[in-house]
C-alpha cells in the first residue's frame, strides 16, 4: 500500500491492481515500471463483448492486440470453423498488427461474456511520440517476441531439413516459453 492509500486519500481498487498485475505478466509490458504501466493503461480501450460476439474477423485490417481481463475467447479460421485455440483471463492475442498493421489471419469470437482491453497501433505511435523511452521499451519487447518466434521457426526448418522429421514431432522441441503462451499471430 502506498502513502496516499495509507492516509485514505486514494481508494485501493482491487480490480485495478489485479489488472496491472495482468498487464505486467504480458511479455510486452513485463519490463515496465509502475508509472509506465499506468501510462499504458491510460491508452488502452476497454471493451465488453457478449458470448458469441465477434471481436475481429479474418482478413480484415488489424490495428492491434487485445488483452483479456475476464472471459474466454475462441480463435477460429474461416476455412475450418473449428477453434484453433481458446484463451482466458490474462491472456492476449493479435499483437503483430501493432507493428505491421497487417490483416488478421484468424477470427476471434467471445465464447463467454468478456471484458477485454485493446492496445492499438495509432495509440502506440502517439505514445512513442510523447514518451519515446517508454515507446522504445514496448517496441523492443515486441521485437524480442518476434525474434524468439523467428528462432523457433528457424530451428524447426533446420530440423526438418537435416532430419526430415515430421513437423508434429519437432513442434514439441520448439514449444514457446510459458510467457509466450496465449500470444498468437492474428
Amino acid at each position: 500500500m502506498d502513502f496516499l492509500s495509507f492516509l485514505g486519500l486514494r481508494k485501493h481498487d482491487g480490480r485495478k491492481v489485479r489488472f496491472r498485475d495482468t498487464l505486467r505478466s504480458i511479455p510486452i509490458f513485463s519490463e515496465l515500471g509502475r508509472r509506465e504501466l499506468a501510462s499504458v493503461e491510460r491508452i488502452l480501450h476497454k471493451r465488453e463483448y457478449s458470448a458469441g460476439e465477434v471481436i475481429f474477423r479474418q482478413d480484415e485490417p488489424g490495428l492491434g492486440m487485445y488483452i483479456i481481463e475476464t472471459g474466454r475467447v475462441s480463435i477460429l479460421t474461416d476455412d475450418s470453423h473449428n477453434s484453433m485455440t481458446e484463451l482466458g483471463d490474462g491472456e492476449f492475442f493479435g499483437e503483430l498488427p501493432l507493428l505491421d498493421g497487417g490483416s488478421r489471419s484468424a477470427t476471434a469470437v467471445a465464447k463467454t461474456p468478456c471484458r477485454i482491453f485493446g492496445f492499438f497501433q495509432p495509440d502506440l505511435f502517439a505514445l512513442i511520440e510523447r514518451n519515446p523511452r517508454l515507446g522504445v521499451k514496448i517496441v523492443l519487447s515486441l521485437a524480442a517476441i518476434i525474434g524468439m518466434r523467428l528462432r523457433a521457426v528457424n530451428d524447426r526448418v533446420q530440423t526438418l531439413l537435416t532430419e526430415g522429421t515430421p513437423p508434429a514431432a519437432t513442434a514439441r522441441h520448439s514449444r514457446p516459453k510459458k510467457s509466450e503462451e496465449g500470444s498468437r499471430r492474428l
Binding site: H45, R47, S50, P122, R130, N131, P132
Partner: protein, 347 residues
C-alpha cells in the same frame, strides 16, 4: 451487472447524452461557433503541447506551460501594440486626412463633370456621397468594436477556456467517443479517426501557418509603404487569405481604399496593388508549396460553392471556415470509403 447488459446501458446513456448536447448546441448557435473555433485552435496547437509533453511533463502541466507562453506573448504584443491600435482607432473615427481626401474628391469631381457631364453626371456631389459613405464605414467599424465589446470579451474568455480543455482532455474525449462505437465498428472507427487526424491536422496547421505568414508579410509590406491602419489591414489580409480566390483581393481592397480616400495618393494605391501581387506570388510559389504540400486537394468549383454556402449560413466566419470544413468532409468521405472497403461489414 453482466458485461453485455452494462455495455448496452452505457451505450444508450452515451448516445442520449450526445443527442442532448447536439440539441442544446443547435439551440444556441453562438456556442457552436465558439466550440468550432476553439476546436480548430486546439487542433492546430496540439503538436506544440505534445512537444512540451515529450520533455517529461504531464499533459496538464504541458497545457499550462503552453498557455503561460501564449499569455506572455499576448501580454508583450498588447503592451507594444495598444498605443498603435488606439491611435489607429482614433484616426479612423476622426477621419484624419480628410483635407487631402477632399482635394482628391474635388479633382475627381472636376474630371467627372468635364468628361461625363453629357450623361447627366455633372450635378452629382461626389464629396457628399463619399463623406456619407466614409462616415458610415468608420462609424460601423468603431461601433462594432465598441458595442460588440461584451461579445468580444466573451469570446476572448470562453474560447481560450475551451481551447485549454480541448488540449488537456482531448485525448480522453476522443477515447470516450470511440468508447460509444459498437464493437463491430470499433476498430474501423479508430482506424478512420487516426487517418483523419493525420490528414486534417496537416491541412489545418498548414492553412493556419500560411495565414499567419501572409498576415505578417502583408503587415510588414503595408508598414514599409507607410499605409495608415497597416496593422488592422495586415491582420485582416492574413485572415482573408484563408478564403481562396476572394481572400487576397478582399485583403488588398481596404489598403487601396485607405490610400485613395484617406491619403489621396494614387501612386501609393498602385504600390499597394503591386505589393499584394508580389505577396500572393510569394505565397503561391514559396510558402504554400512548403507548408501546404500535404494538404487536401479541393476542386476550385467546390471551393467557391463552399465559400458561398458558408457565407450565406454563417457570414464572415462561415466563409473563413468553409474551406477547412469542406476539407474535413472530403477527408471523412475519402477515408471512410477507403477504410470501409477493407472491412466485411456486410457479412
Amino acid at each position: 451487472m453482466n458485461p453485455a447488459r452494462s455495455l448496452v446501458l452505457n451505450r444508450w446513456l452515451a448516445f442520449s447524452g450526445l443527442a442532448l448536447l447536439i440539441l442544446l448546441l443547435l439551440l444556441v448557435p453562438g456556442v457552436v461557433k465558439m466550440i468550432v473555433v476553439a476546436f480548430l485552435l486546439a487542433y492546430i496547437f496540439d503538436p506544440i503541447v505534445t512537444a512540451i509533453e515529450v520533455r517529461g511533463l504531464s499533459r496538464t502541466a504541458s497545457t499550462v506551460v503552453f498557455f503561460l507562453f501564449v499569455i506572455s506573448i499576448a501580454w508583450i504584443l498588447i503592451s507594444i501594440l495598444t498605443p498603435v491600435v488606439y491611435n489607429q482607432i482614433m484616426t479612423l473615427r476622426s477621419g484624419a486626412g480628410s483635407r487631402q481626401t477632399s482635394e482628391v474628391i474635388l479633382r475627381l469631381q472636376a474630371v467627372v463633370r468635364a468628361k461625363l457631364g453629357f450623361i447627366g453626371l455633372g450635378e452629382v456631389n461626389l464629396q457628399e456621397k463619399i463623406e456619407q459613405f466614409s462616415a458610415y464605414l468608420s462609424d460601423t467599424i468603431v461601433d462594432f468594436i465598441l458595442h460588440e465589446g461584451l461579445s468580444i470579451i466573451l469570446y476572448a474568455v470562453t474560447v481560450p477556456f475551451l481551447v485549454f480543455f480541448f488540449l488537456k482532455d482531448g485525448r480522453e474525449m476522443k477515447k470516450m467517443f470511440i468508447g460509444i462505437v459498437p464493437n463491430r465498428y470499433f476498430e474501423f472507427a479508430l482506424d478512420l479517426l487516426y487517418k483523419m487526424d493525420i490528414q486534417l491536422g496537416n491541412y489545418l496547421r498548414s492553412q493556419f501557418t500560411d495565414a499567419v505568414a501572409f498576415g505578417i508579410l502583408a503587415t510588414i509590406a503595408l508598414w514599409l509603404l507607410g499605409v495608415k491602419y497597416f496593422l488592422f489591414i495586415g491582420v485582416f489580409a492574413g485572415l482573408a487569405n484563408l478564403i481562396p480566390y476572394v481572400g487576397p483581393i478582399a485583403g488588398a481592397l481596404p489598403a487601396v481604399a485607405v490610400a485613395l480616400f484617406d491619403a489621396g495618393d494614387v501612386t501609393l494605391a498602385l504600390q499597394i496593388v503591386l505589393a499584394f501581387i508580389i505577396l500572393k506570388l510569394t505565397d503561391d510559389m514559396l510558402v504554400q508549396p512548403l507548408l501546404v504540400a500535404k494538404g487536401v486537394h479541393l476542386h476550385p468549383l467546390l471551393v467557391l460553392l463552399a465559400i458561398i454556402i458558408g457565407g450565406e449560413l454563417f457570414g464572415m466566419l462561415g466563409m473563413l471556415l468553409a474551406v477547412p470544413a469542406t476539407g474535413f468532409v472530403k477527408v471523412v468521405l475519402q477515408e471512410s470509403i477507403v477504410t470501409l472497403k477493407k472491412y466485411r461489414f456486410t457479412d
